[in-house]
């Protein structure tokens, strides 16, 4: 299952589906980094609203995506982690340290707008 990546100005938006396999996640990681380079994007929003489970592999991949994007000089914001998914992540001991998160897509865009404004 492929993850659609939407380009909105300087921001790329990737929307996760519920049933992503490890191979899908790896493919997304490559795809996102390549597109950030191609479009000279300044930020990536990863929308995980539909994700039913965030296990150790998924959260590690998200952290890796954020770090790779950062090395390109762009920002990553993870949006839409569901309350029960957050609860399970904490129980499992998973963290997204150093990665920006926001409630939903709208909040994520607002966060980035604010951030770009202050750096310009």
């Amino acid at each position: 299952m492929e993850v659609p990546i939407l380009k909105q100005g300087a921001v790329l938006i990737a929307t996760f589906q519920a049933a992503l396999s490890d191979a899908d996640l790896n493919q997304l990681r490559m795809g996102l980094v390549q597109q950030v380079v191609k479009f000279r994007s300044r930020a990536v929003i990863v929308d995980v609203t539909a994700m039913d489970v965030m296990d150790s592999f998924a959260s590690r991949t998200l952290r890796e995506i954020a770090h790779m994007i950062k090395l390109r000089g762009a920002e990553t914001v993870i949006v839409g982690i569901q309350p029960e998914v957050a609860f399970a992540m904490v129980q499992l001991g998973l963290t997204l340290e150093g990665v920006a998160t926001a409630l939903d897509l709208e909040e994520g865009l607002a966060y980035l707008n604010e951030k770009f404004k202050t750096t310009n």
């Binding site: 965030m54 296990d55 001991g93």
Partner: protein, 134 residues
């Protein structure tokens, strides 16, 4: 209450997704809250992932169980992989031999109510976990 028994063969990362989806569906059928179903699905995902990373193939068995006054779900992950040499060490946070996060087993133990592991070097590993409906 009985919702039977489901066995999911674990041979690839695609099967991890299918095992946790079946686990969530069974948990909901047994009357677990959606929050608890998420915890169960997450635990199944980690157990199935251990099978793929360490043993390459194995099986996840899901079953509704009836306690004296409560209903629960039993998940048994079994493989015939290399086994775990030091179980105590594998149950410590931060320990991993495959370069992963090493949070798998202790994390699964926290997600579920009961946890049992048996492993024999070269013969394989079986992890049985249960969660009771609140």
């Amino acid at each position: 209450m009985s919702v039977g028994e489901i066995r999911v063969a674990i041979n690839s990362d695609q099967d991890i997704v299918s095992a946790r989806q079946k686990g969530r569906a069974m948990a909901m059928e047994l009357g677990f809250s959606s929050g608890d179903a998420t915890l169960i699905a997450t635990a199944i995902s980690e157990l199935a992932r251990n099978i793929v990373s360490y043993a390459r193939k194995g099986q996840i068995m899901l079953k509704g169980v009836q306690g004296s006054s409560r209903v629960g779900i039993l998940v048994i992950a079994s493989d015939e992989g290399p086994g775990i040499l030091d179980i105590r060490q594998a149950l410590r946070d931060g320990f991993s031999t495959s370069g992963s996060l090493g949070l798998g087993l202790p994390g699964v133990r926290r997600l579920m109510d009961e946890f049992e592991i048996t492993s024999q070097p070269k013969l394989g590993t079986t992890v049985a976990v249960k969660k009771w409906r609140q």
